[in-house]
Amino acid sequence: MARVRKARAAAHRRASLPPLAPPFVLDVTLEIPAGISILLGPSGAGKSTLLDCIAGLVRPDVGCVRVGQDVWFDSQKSIDLPVHQRRVGYVFQSLALFPHLSVEQNIVYGIAQRAPQERSQRLEEVLQAFGIADLRGRKPAEISGGEAQRVELARALVTDPQVLLLDEPMSGLDEELKAGIIADLRAWRTAKNIPILYVTHSKSEAQALGDRRIVMRAGKVIDQPSAPMPG
């Protein structure tokens, strides 16, 4: 369960990280259970900014972000866990594979601190799950769009995140590739019981994947299936 309570963000830039979004006012109270929640809304509604707030790339002015029992951000208690300490899987709107690393090195980047045996076991697991085992030695410039998308998902999921954020991860891909990745995601959702927030404009993706829908407009949630948590 992930909770975002009264996160008001003016899209503050993190000192050591570049800004992702222009100045923007977001006022959201949201509870995201395990499973896939589809985040819908027009461009500029604040969907990506909300994801950035949860990931810690954008610091809200006030509010709190909780995942399970962990508090990642609480303005009243001055808690603000740095991005790299939040266990979040995030696939950005545009691909961000490290161009100087191979597919395999990209995937293990987030689990570099783990024991070698565990690392190779988890690597093999996601390589097989996403059907990208034969790409392991290639650089991102040498693989196709659909393959790069799978590598991104594998890289995000291999870390065993507490929450998964997917920002239009399949825009620009053809239907056949989408169907394959949707099948991968559904299998992963069944295996790992974590909250997944999935931003999309595609009705077919929403129908194929969504356990529930959240609709945003102008920085506010205007429709969500269950009532937001009190307080």
Binding site: G56, V83, L95, A96, A141
Partner: protein, 218 residues
């Protein structure tokens, strides 16, 4: 050659934190440090050398400190020449490094952060390798710029054979002594070194561009 190699190596180490700070800091008065770093580009070398000489002289702050710490003065020594040369070539290290750091796709840094990389690891594993062309450019430009140094060296280092006499000053001495053959030989060496250095910079940049093209198919 010794001076140029020392300046290039030390400026790479010193230039990286300065360039990183200039590339990523949000401090409003950052432009002041940028101006200080770029100052040697517009300042006549003799002016820079003059102030360096004053600072390193027996009554200058740097000279006094050096004397207290090491028991001898700084002016007209290799150490003094090294310090002045480093300041003189600072923009040639900082500018390419800063451009390279700024050129790293911000999405990659965000991706590294959400994958659990600390700021230091993001620097070491993403920024540094992707800035390799900038680092090569910084090293070779500092080396070449120091090799051709004249005004600052003459002001701060004098012309002590084996200690502070650089190639440019040796050429000047030879011309003054009407030894054109010797001057021509040394000038040709400098010309060749400069060409090779620039060829390396452009070659590395081209190779890196081909190797590290990000995936941009969407």
């Amino acid at each position: 050659m010794k001076l140029a190699a020392c300046v290039a190596a030390l400026l790479l180490a010193l230039g990286m934190p300065i360039a990183y700070w200039l590339a990523y800091a949000t401090w409003r008065a950052k432009f002041l440090l940028e101006a200080v770093v770029a100052l040697p580009l517009v300042l006549p070398p003799t002016v820079l050398g003059f102030y360096a000489l004053l600072a390193m002289g027996p009554h200058g702050p740097l000279g006094k400190f050096w004397y207290a710490a090491f028991g001898h003065g700084l002016a007209f020594t290799f150490g003094g020449l090294l310090l002045a040369s480093m300041f003189y070539s600072l923009p040639f290290a900082v500018q390419p490094l800063m451009n390279a750091f700024e050129g790293v796709d911000p999405r990659l840094l965000n991706a590294a952060a959400v994958l659990g990389a600390s700021p230091w690891r993001r620097f070491a594993s993403v920024i540094l390798p992707l800035s390799l062309p900038g680092m090569v450019a910084a090293v070779v430009l500092c080396f070449a710029h120091t090799l051709g140094e004249f005004g600052v060296v003459l002001m701060v280092g004098g012309n002590l054979p084996g200690i502070t006499r650089t190639a440019s000053i040796a050429i000047y001495d030879n011309v003054q002594a009407l030894q054109y053959g010797e001057a021509n030989r040394m000038a040709l060496v400098l010309l060749c070194v400069s060409f090779v250095v620039l060829a390396i910079v452009y070659g590395v940049n081209r190779h890196a561009r081909r190797l590290w093209t990000p995936w941009t198919g969407r």
